[in-house]
């Protein structure tokens, strides 16, 4: 396993632990509102569209498209130095919500806005796996 020590590890809270548990199992999960039918991200105690608290966790496709990205040349800290240049991107998921992630498994210079991507997980520790995205290959 690559050494991820020193990176900014997410610290799950009661509100987000189901999400991070899904990541640990390499399954992207979102909250779904039983009242208005919307998915939401990040996790909240209410649906931010209709304020209902009738939310459930659902497994989602893990597919989406890049709506913007940048190639980071100057890392945020020493711990991210080995990853330079790395892509920070905004991914609009098929189910609606947008999330930030890294796009990996491709030449950063070849990346384009609108490119379809799918999730894969990088294990940072036994507790924490981080959702990252890979360009989808045609026919995938």
């Amino acid at each position: 396993m690559i050494d991820h020590s020193g990176k900014s590890f997410p610290v799950p809270t009661p509100e987000t632990e189901v999400y991070w548990e899904g990541c640990r199992e390499h399954q992207l999960r979102l909250q779904y509102c039983n009242n208005c039918g919307q998915h939401q991200f990040y996790p909240r105690i209410i649906c931010s569209a209709c304020m209902s608290n009738d939310l459930k966790w659902v497994d989602v496709s893990g597919e989406g498209e890049v709506i913007s990205f940048t190639i980071v040349r100057r890392p945020v800290s020493e711990a991210y130095k080995t990853e330079v240049p790395y892509v920070v991107a905004l991914i609009k998921l098929l189910e609606g919500p947008t999330m930030m992630s890294n796009v990996v498994g491709c030449d950063p210079e070849a990346l384009e806005i609108g490119m379809p991507v799918s999730v894969q997980f990088q294990d940072w520790s036994e507790q924490i796996s981080i959702p990252k995205f890979c360009p989808k290959i045609a026919g995938d």
Binding site: S8, Y42, T70, T98, M100
Partner: protein, 389 residues
């Protein structure tokens, strides 16, 4: 609803030295700025009954404004520090104006300073500022502040065909203004090519698309329009003010290419009864070059998607149709973090008093000062003028 239009005025304004200021920490810079603004207003410290500060990253206090009041040995009846970053602190002008009009205080000293350059290491300054990202859902991916803004730039380029050279033109324009300002941290003229060949930080942002890291402080004295006539300098009136708040985290933004500067601008114009065409110059928050481009569009200085062509025309440079950041902005004058927008405000006061020397915008009567904080998250637009009617 009662409008704030013309009800309050800035009667004192001053900056400390900026750039690298040895011997002064953030606290001393805040006090120095306060003393200079009081001197400019011809006031003693006991003649203000309101104090507003912003917290400092280099020397934070749990009760910052109270600590500064204690340092000065003043005992205000209105005392508040604003904690949020960048241009967000600027929204306090709105609140302080409302406090004066509603009788909570008569005369407010607003002093803000920080020492990001000397008080923090480079890595400290970077990680503290990127902490604006979501701790679980953004920061683990290693974004920097330039990376957050690069996401806006790339989206604008993809949607409207804006180019990196057009962003660079904004850095060039700010430097042209700064070259006329003896107080600016960076005064050596630069070209679009200089920007384009400077080190890439986060595509498409080069080093020279990014604002400076500085020490510095800036302060103003605000009072009611009735009192404003009795000061040494001509008052500068608040004619319009508006805010717009869209998100905190860029991954939650409703739009990457249109910000809530649209709403803050419309609210300010409506209060002032003026439009973008009436502005003689504008000070637009310029933490990174794309910030200015989006603000030019959202505040109505050009159509959506046409910001690139607008800056390419030379409009924002000295002598242009709309000089922008006449002091040099955060890109070339100085950027000590939270106090950022204050320098745009004190510069606007100098311009409207016709005291800006070599960089004076001829016959300047009315101007827009716009601050934003977060990642294009929250916006405050002020319209200031020489006349209150």
């Amino acid at each position: 609803m009662e409008s704030l239009r013309g009800k309050v005025a800035i009667v004192g304004a001053a900056d400390t030295e900026v750039g690298v200021v040895p011997g002064f920490g953030a606290t001393q810079l805040c006090i120095d700025a306060a003393c200079r603004a009081l001197a400019d207003a011809g006031l003693g410290k006991d003649q203000v009954d309101g104090l507003v500060t912003c917290n400092s990253m280099a020397e934070p206090y749990m009760y910052h404004a109270e600590a500064m009041a204690e340092y000065l040995q003043i005992f205000p009846r209105y005392c508040i520090s604003v904690g949020a970053g960048g241009g967000t602190t600027f929204s306090i002008l709105h609140h302080a104006a409302a406090a004066i009009v509603t009788g909570q205080c008569d005369t407010v000293l607003i002093s803000m300073a920080d020492s990001l350059r000397s008080g923090l290491s480079r890595e400290q300054a970077m990680t503290m500022q990127s902490a604006t990202g979501h701790s679980q859902f953004e920061i683990p991916f290693g974004p920097t502040v330039p990376a957050f803004y690069a996401l806006i730039a790339q989206a604008h380029m993809a949607k409207y065909g804006t180019t990196a050279e057009q962003f660079a033109q904004i850095a060039v324009g700010c430097r042209q203004h700064a070259s006329l300002n003896p107080a600016a941290q960076m005064r050596e003229p630069i070209s679009v090519e200089d920007v384009m060949t400077s080190r890439m930080i986060a595509d498409p942002l080069h080093l020279l698309d990014c604002s400076l890291v500085s020490d510095g402080g800036s302060a103003v004295v605000l009072t009611s329009a009735e009192r404003a006539a009795d000061f040494p300098h001509a008052p500068v009136y608040l004619l319009g003010v508006g805010e717009g708040h869209g998100h905190e985290h860029i991954s939650q933004a409703q739009s990457l290419t249109t910000s809530t500067a649209v709403e803050s601008g419309q609210r300010a114009y409506a209060m002032a009864g003026l439009g973008p065409e009436d502005m003689d110059f504008a000070q637009l928050y310029d933490c990174f070059t794309p910030t200015v481009l989006v603000e030019l569009e959202d505040l109505g200085f050009c159509k959506k998607g046409e910001g690139g062509a607008f800056v390419e025309s030379g409009a924002i440079a000295p002598g242009g149709a709309l000089p922008v950041n006449t002091h040099g902005g955060l890109l070339s004058h100085c950027h000590p973090g939270n106090p950022g927008s204050m320098f745009a405000l004190t510069e606007t006061v100098s311009q409207l008093r016709q005291q800006a020397g070599e960089r004076q915008v001829p016959n300047a009567e009315v101007a827009m000062v716009h601050g934003q904080g977060g990642i294009m998250s929250s916006h405050t637009s002020l319209i200031l003028g020489r006349e209150n009617s």
